[in-house]
């Protein structure tokens, strides 16, 4: 039992770490989709955030500037997407995919000179685990939840604040209206273009931060393609958590946990590792099926998702 609990603790600690970049990216994508724009460029924005965060962190030695650079880089990527899809009303799928391709190339290009470089101690020490007194003493979940690095804690706060913002504020209501029924929102005097721009940029910044977490905290040494497809998992996660920021915490840590659990179980179980690799996607399909069976409005995609808004079409 003792041994089991200690293994469980290890799994949970790493699951939350693995889930944190997914959480940021998922929250970002929730904002973009809640205003009606399906941004498939998450992977690209994450990579842009990862490379810019790393390179600024490396050259300045400042963790704060590194994080800010990651946020800014993700937002820049999102700006391209926003301009294409809002102002030019280009196809969202194509624009998002090209953003992913662009971001991947951008990070390889900028990262060429960074390969093999490692971050200085001044950054690594800031991102070490910080114990929260009392709370971290709770068995099993204590160390998992409350003995983590500062960005993991930031993730908790950002998720909760996002939830409050979406469901408990006037602006949140407005932004949901933009995604559900832009015609009605327009009639009510909501500035649709502004709302879309702001939240897509915010979403990009979060995706950039998710990428930055990977290169600044998870593996503080530059390697190309550091995201390894996590941007795509985030896109699936948005559906899995039914566009809900609160649920996104559970979802992100669960998906993160699946990859970790596979590693711990593989030598003790007959289940091949590839099954665990499939689970996040299987779970997403399962949720999709459940949503369409239950037809509950709360859990559906924003109605105007993927459709450009023309005022004259009303």
């Amino acid at each position: 039992m003792e041994a089991f609990l200690s293994v469980l603790t290890f799994v949970l600690i790493d699951a939350i770490k693995a889930g944190t970049p997914l959480l940021f990216a998922t929250l970002g994508e929730i904002f973009a989709e809640k205003v009606g724009n399906l941004n498939l460029g998450v992977e690209g924005m994450m990579l842009m955030g990862a490379v810019m965060g790393f390179s600024v962190g490396l050259s300045t030695g400042s963790p704060l500037l590194g994080v800010l650079a990651a946020l800014a880089a993700g937002a820049c990527g999102a700006l391209v997407f926003a301009f294409l899809t809002i102002t030019l009303r280009a196809n969202q799928i194509v624009s998002g995919l090209s953003l992913t391709i662009f971001g991947t190339g951008f990070s390889s290009f900028v990262g060429q000179k960074l390969v093999g470089e490692a971050l200085p101690e001044s950054i690594k020490s800031v991102f070490k685990a910080i114990k929260i007194p009392a709370l971290s003493e709770i068995p099993v979940i204590g160390p998992a939840l409350f003995n983590q690095d500062i960005l993991v804690y930031a993730g908790y706060i950002v998720a909760v604040v996002s939830g409050i913002y979406l469901y408990r504020t006037r602006t949140g209501l407005n932004l949901r209206t933009v995604g559900e029924n832009p015609g009605a929102a327009d009639t009510a005097g909501i500035n649709i273009t502004l709302y879309k721009y702001i939240h897509i940029l915010l979403g990009g910044a979060f995706a950039g931060l998710g990428g930055g977490y990977l290169s600044l905290v998870a593996v503080p040494s530059w390697q190309d393609a550091v995201t390894g497809g996590r941007g795509w998992i985030a896109v699936a996660l948005v559906i899995f958590v039914t566009w809900n920021p609160y649920k996104s915490m559970l979802g992100a840590y669960f998906f993160g946990g699946l990859s970790i659990l596979g590693l711990y179980l593989q030598s003790h179980s007959p289940i091949p590792q590839s099954i665990f690799d499939m689970l996040p996607y299987l779970a997403t399909i399962f949720v999709l099926v459940m949503i369409s069976l239950k037809k509950s409005k709360e859990n559906c995609a924003p109605k105007a998702l993927g459709e450009p808004y023309f005022r004259e079409d009303r």
Partner: protein, 372 residues
């Protein structure tokens, strides 16, 4: 009509520019290729980005070495990176040939059948394919290196360092190449501490820094205190560094990423082979021969052992290395038992190359499993 034509031209131009610009790099003096029939222009196709700091990086270092050594003799090189192991590799090769390449190095296993096909189509071009098994008698050969020899040596270094007797091994895919590496590493470990175990975790990917790190962390949490890897990133070494443990790298000297953990790494020196082959082409003495070089040929080596190693490691490793070099010791010499304890290679016998290339079982001392 005019407009349509202009549009079509524009599209054609843009796509041509994109295609040729996409991941292509060229360096050296291109004009040399056209000056004489003897000039060699070598084209390389890579599975990953040259900036992976691992497998493709090592091949590209080989290319640069070739350019440095033989550039004065009119040898130029060019490369295409991120070439998938499908029909696009065939197109990549043809593109390189169109650009004047008369020597092609295809550096990943999955290109094999496409190389075979293109080699028949272009009998005047010489094709070199890394890690495959197909070849012909005229213009298509395969090449690889006995990295197992240096993995064995790195196993010695790991075992000398380990206090817990549990060594972790983060492994990519369940194919003979990787299994062979784990076996030779384990034999190296057991040559100095017979009771030590090598604990294997599969990641199912060659390249994912974070996942590789997680796998290493799982091993460290399980009590391992030295981590080895058959992966293309430094993730496992960083995990070891964070947990105050030690690590054996792979592919290239990676002491920068984990300075306090990194002990040594089995590394590739592809440049040795590339220069040798191209020199033979220049001399007119080249023959279509497959190549599986080892320490002796210089195509594989062990990176310099750092101060993180246990005292005396260098001497022990050097002694065995000398024996491998003079041929008096073979890594896969019997007796070798498998995980069940059954003798697979009898005393006095040596595992054949064929058996090594198709190896699908672990030696005794490996704690891990191969999915059937």
């Amino acid at each position: 009509m005019k407009k349509l034509l202009a549009l079509m031209l524009a599209v054609a131009m843009i796509s041509a520019a994109l295609l040729s610009g996409c991941g292509a790099g060229s360096s050296g003096d291109d004009s040399a290729a056209s000056t004489g029939a003897k000039a060699v222009k070598a084209g390389f196709i890579y599975i990953g980005p040259i900036g992976d700091g691992g497998y493709t990086y090592a091949h590209d270092q080989g290319r640069l070495f070739l350019e440095k050594e033989l550039g004065a003799k009119g040898v130029t090189t060019t490369f295409l990176e991120n070439v998938a192991e499908d029909a696009s590799s065939e197109k990549a090769m043809k593109d390189l040939i169109d650009q004047g390449c008369n020597v092609i190095f295809a550096t990943s296993f999955g290109y094999m059948e496409y190389v075979d096909r293109v080699a028949k189509e272009y009998p005047d071009v010489k094709f070199f394919h890394c890690s495959g098994y197909l070849s012909n008698d005229t213009n298509f050969v395969n090449y690889f290196g006995r990295i197992e020899q240096t993995r064995y040596l790195s196993g010695i270094a790991a075992a000398l360092k380990s206090k817990s007797g549990k060594i972790g091994y983060v492994a990519a895919k369940q194919i003979p190449e990787v299994i062979r590496g784990i076996n030779s590493f384990t034999l190296g470990v057991q040559s100095v501490s017979p009771t030590a175990t090598v604990n294997v975790k599969w990641t199912d990917t060659w390249y994912d820094p974070t996942l590789e790190k997680n796998a290493a962390t799982a091993l460290l949490n399980d009590g391992c205190d030295v981590i080895a890897q058959h992966q293309d990133t430094t993730g496992p070494q960083i995990a070891a560094e964070e947990k105050n443990a030690f690590a054996i790298g792979y592919n290239s000297d990676s002491s920068k990423a984990a300075p306090k953990a990194y002990i040594t790494a089995p590394i590739w020196n592809w440049g040795v082979y590339y220069v040798d082959q191209v020199q033979k082409i220049l001399d007119g003495t080249w023959k279509a021969e497959n190549y599986w070089g080892g320490l002796k040929e210089g195509v594989v080596d062990l990176a310099p052992i750092t101060e993180n190693a246990a005292p005396g490691t260098k001497e022990t490793v050097e002694a065995i290395k000398a024996k491998i070099l003079d041929g008096s010791f073979n890594v896969f010499a019997g007796p070798i038992k498998d995980q069940t304890g059954a003798v697979r290679v009898a005393e006095g016998a040596v595992m054949s190359d064929e058996d090594q290339l198709s190896c699908k079982w672990f030696v005794q001392g490996v704690n891990g499993k191969i999915d059937k």
